[in-house]
Symmetry: C2
Subunit: 284 residues, 2 copies
């Protein structure tokens, strides 16, 4: 029996809880605020930012998107970040990546007040995560953990394989699974015998970005499979990394694309914004 892990549904449930929580905070004159800094005209970035802002507003978060031309200097952007670090209306600051080539992304992420880093990309937050004392967590792996938890997928003692070693998905994903006592392997473009590896995985997370990359022969019977890929097939249809038709029947749990990981990512951003708001007010 295969269970489809419905990220859309879980996201809706979590968002409804957040909406109620935000309404309660408002009774105490507290409005969680999120400012998004968007640089340049990347279409995908614009879509992501718009979706974040629509969700934020729906939940009652005070959301503001500041759009800068791609010609903005690094110094000017750092000044903007610093301005919002000191603006009490905003508890979360998100700098949409990628940034134009002339701006050092690392420098910009380092400039965000770690308390307002609701994306979990600041090195200090990354360090706390790896040390096993997370404060904010990159939203995609965080959302995946919530999904696995909601569907009661067993993690402790299981073999987990994460394909992809990005700073925002693969590496933090591995750490989160490790902290739940999985035996974790990180595989990537230099991995030999990938199939031998993945076919031993009780939990398989694919963050590769290639349609139909994960085929039937790569998946262990009864595995839990999480598909982080967002790809377009030849007909322009949204598709993940996993050949869903072939693979789903042998799994015990699987996420679809769309309606899998995607809605969870945005929800965790909202959750971390609300949490940042509560923490910053508490610390005042």
């Amino acid at each position: 029996m295969t269970t489809i892990m419905n990220g859309r549904l879980l996201a809706e449930e979590m968002q409804e809880k957040l909406r109620l929580k935000i309404a309660q905070l408002k009774e105490k004159q507290l409005v969680p605020g999120l400012v998004v800094l968007l640089v340049g005209d990347d279409l995908a970035s614009q879509t992501y930012v718009r979706n974040k802002s629509i969700t934020a507003e729906k939940l009652g978060i005070n959301s503001q998107t500041i759009h800068f031309p791609s010609s903005i200097t690094e110094a000017a952007l750092l000044k903007e970040v610093n301005k919002y670090n000191h603006d009490d209306r905003y508890h979360g600051i998100l700098v949409q990546l990628p940034l134009p080539g002339h701006i050092d992304e690392e420098k910009v992420l380092l400039a965000i007040d770690p308390k307002k880093d609701v994306d979990g990309f600041h090195p200090l937050n990354m360090g706390k995560l790896f040390l096993g004392k997370p404060e904010t967590i990159p939203c995609t792996p965080y959302g995946i953990m919530k999904l696995l938890e909601a569907y009661q997928v067993k993690i402790a003692g299981k073999q987990a394989v994460v394909i992809g070693r990005s700073n925002i998905v693969g590496k933090p994903m591995a750490q989160l699974l490790l902290s739940e006592n999985a035996t974790v392997t990180i595989a990537h473009s230099n991995t030999h015998n990938l199939t031998a590896l993945t076919s031993q995985a009780d939990i398989l997370i694919s963050a590769v970005g290639r349609a139909d990359f994960i085929t039937r022969d790569m998946v262990k019977e009864q595995a839990a499979v999480v598909d982080v890929g967002i790809n377009r097939d030849a007909n322009g249809k949204l598709t993940g990394d996993v050949d869903f038709e072939q693979v789903a029947p042998v799994t015990s749990f699987i996420t679809p694309v769309p309606k899998g990981v995607g809605p969870m990512t945005i929800t965790m951003l909202m959750e971390q914004t609300v949490r940042a708001c509560q923490k910053q007010e508490f610390d005042k």
Copy 2:
């Protein structure tokens, strides 16, 4: 053919280079300084600290050990850390762990100026390491990488298994091997079928702390084996995690205990102190 990776020898070579570098710095009136804060009367800690200080002095580093009674308050210790953060004579600050139970280790590590964190334990440095842009690195895994490099052990594309997931050995070790393009698995006390896993490892790092834990059947033919364990056998003799007699003949490379990883750890502390000195002077 088995090659014994002689950490003692490599450490001596590296220390000799450091000694010359420090002599050059002194010609420019620059003396690298390392202050070690030791709390309480733990015998093992006292031995470690003494060894660090002897090595530092031998190389020409200005080394100072400050010994506090175990009754020191957290606030008082934090004040001491802060004092040395602002003391230009010391480029490196090391707080010897463990600290007494009434002191929050995390808080103390966070208080060290990351630039002076020559142990690489500060969350910010840990974060930078995991993001692939390390500044300082925990000395044991850093030393192991130097040893693998010196003996030209191939890492890219290889299967590496790290047993142990401590913040100061296992996790940073996994990250360093990953950054050299190994496929990395972290195993630990919750791992099932450890032998099935380790017997596929081209590179096996054991940081378990149990004598004779790694037996012949757990090791792949021609593997490179690194033994991070420091244990005493029934006769009080120093021994690692690996049953050396049985295992060594099947490996291509192996570290002994003693004279393997241990001397490298202390050497990397010295190297990072010298580097911190150069960087702090450069940034002035």
